[in-house]
């Protein structure tokens, strides 16, 4: 409990995010509609959604925290824990699977040193499967953070992993 309290006190957002939040709330006749946009904005800044973040959002929109929490547990893109600095999502659905997305995923796991749904030891990378990313004609497809990659076979996956590793921050 005391833990949460200190976190609550510490929870704050950049003025840029705050401005975006105030603007997005005006898009809707009912404030509650802004819950998903606020969750996105908070996750973009913080990397994940903490309990204090949920409380902050609830407070901002005049909701109870459960109204926010139930969205975090329902929508797969929101996470309650940090992921790697670069987060990789490989499509596992049929069209991509037919052209080898599972092999692509395996190569990335090996080269980036992380298990599926895990984070690499240095905290740099994480990988998960995603459902159909609407690029089925150019599979295997994957996303690295917000960027979309198409036609990533095993060889290209190895190249991509190398590139991501050289872009690593020290």
């Amino acid at each position: 409990m005391s833990d949460t309290q200190t976190e609550t006190e510490e929870f704050s957002l950049s003025s840029e995010t705050l401005a975006k939040i105030d603007e997005v709330i005006t898009h809707y006749p009912e404030k509650r509609s802004a819950t998903l946009p606020l969750l996105h904005l908070v996750q973009e800044e913080k990397g994940y959604i903490s309990r204090p973040a949920m409380e902050w959002i609830a407070d901002k929109l005049g909701l109870t925290p459960i109204n926010v929490y139930e969205l975090v547990t329902f929508y797969p893109m929101f996470r309650e824990k940090p992921v790697g600095r670069r987060h990789v999502r490989v499509c596992r659905t049929l069209s991509c699977a037919l052209v080898g997305s599972h092999k692509t995923c395996k190569v990335l796991q090996d080269k980036l040193g992380c298990e599926l749904d895990g984070v690499s030891e240095d905290g740099e990378f994480s990988i998960e499967y995603a459902e159909c990313l609407a690029g089925c004609g150019t599979g295997p497809v994957l996303m690295v953070d917000d960027d979309f990659y198409e036609n990533i076979d095993e060889a290209k996956a190895a190249e991509l992993a190398e590139r991501l590793k050289t872009e690593k921050k020290d």
Partner: protein, 455 residues
Amino acid sequence: MATTPQEKRIILKNIDQDGYTRDIDCYLANGGYEVLKQTVTKNPADLCKEIETSGLRGRGGAGFPCGMKWKFLDRKSGKPIYLICNADESEPGTFKDRQIIHKDPHQLIEGMMCSTFAIQAACAYIYIRGEFPEGAKILEEAIEEARKKNFVGKNICGTKYSCEIYVHRGAGAYICGEETGLIESLEGKRAYPRIKPPFFPAVLGLYQCPTAVNNVETLCNVKHVFDMGGEEYAKIGKPGNTGTRILCVSGHVKKPGYYEFEVGSLTLGQLIYDVCGGLPDGRKLKAVIPGGSSAKVLRADERYTGKTKGGEEFDWSLEDIPLDFDSLMAAGSMAGSGGVIVMDDTTDMVEALGNINAFYAHESCGQCTPCREGSLWMKKITTRMLEGQPRLEDVDLLKSVADQIAGRTICAFGEACAWPTQSFVLKFRDEFIAKAEKQINENAPSSQPAIAGKE
């Protein structure tokens, strides 16, 4: 030799053309927003009539006539009317809306503004799936450009009509594509589909106000209907199946991609062989899912016989099936979202179904017991057929689980998740039995703990 069917690009006309960019200047240079300028001088009721005359059917999956949907909007309530563009594009095998959004966003915005004016909407939202962060940015920028030119916002094109468009991002849940789940999500809740009746969006939609929910491609078509007039538009395609259709082809073909054709102007065989270059060398066609992963699978070496809606007898091979809403339905599947998934003879059908079942088990919203439990069990059973300890009865068990879902749920996800299992097991029964037998032999009790036979 049959000639290669010609694409007829209306929606995709400018997309991928040399020098065509997505900014408003390029759009205007290509005649953009001229239709909107004309539209806002007309009578909204007449415009809705044009859509009815055009016969335009929804491109999001169900193929519901757009004119009828708009007609149902409750205008007597006096409540504001909303338009929602469904840009959730999550049906596996479908990837057309993303192309439009990324490469020609103003076409969508013009289509939307023509639609909002026709139905006299007070405000419009684009619900875009969370995995399209770039698409959302592109749309926001495009709306801003359009607002500066007075095509969106206050007093559009100098008239008294005002309407805003806002972009709203989802967050990775497929069920947000279902229109009432989408509305709940837009209201800031879990995307639990609403029960119909009474919650038909046209009457009790967003914020309990009358709401039209339309797919990206449908809304782009609205612009072209207004441009050429309903009657001219209806001459494209076939009666009851008018206009063009974007088909997304994926899986085992040489040239996968998105193509636009007059509805019904080509057969499945022409699409696969003439347009998409056929299968990889040395492979044979085994099966096709013609309308997104929830459409029933069609087997290559089967005859499709029966009577069309018009009463004509047909006897088709898989390759002969014309690609329109009614013919695909007559063949026992559906045109759905236009996502054609091609599988060659190297495909393990149990694995393919296992993959699809994992998708639906992950995406069920969990409100209805038959769907929540059924989708989970279909996944569990196909998974154990592939890597665990199945029983021979599993093949029938799988089908019986599927049979108990459809028709007993709040939304059409129930059907969507049952159809793959029902059709795969029906059409490839031998393969499922062989798989179960092989797995039973390989996982003989001696190599497995005795308890494993029990669930």
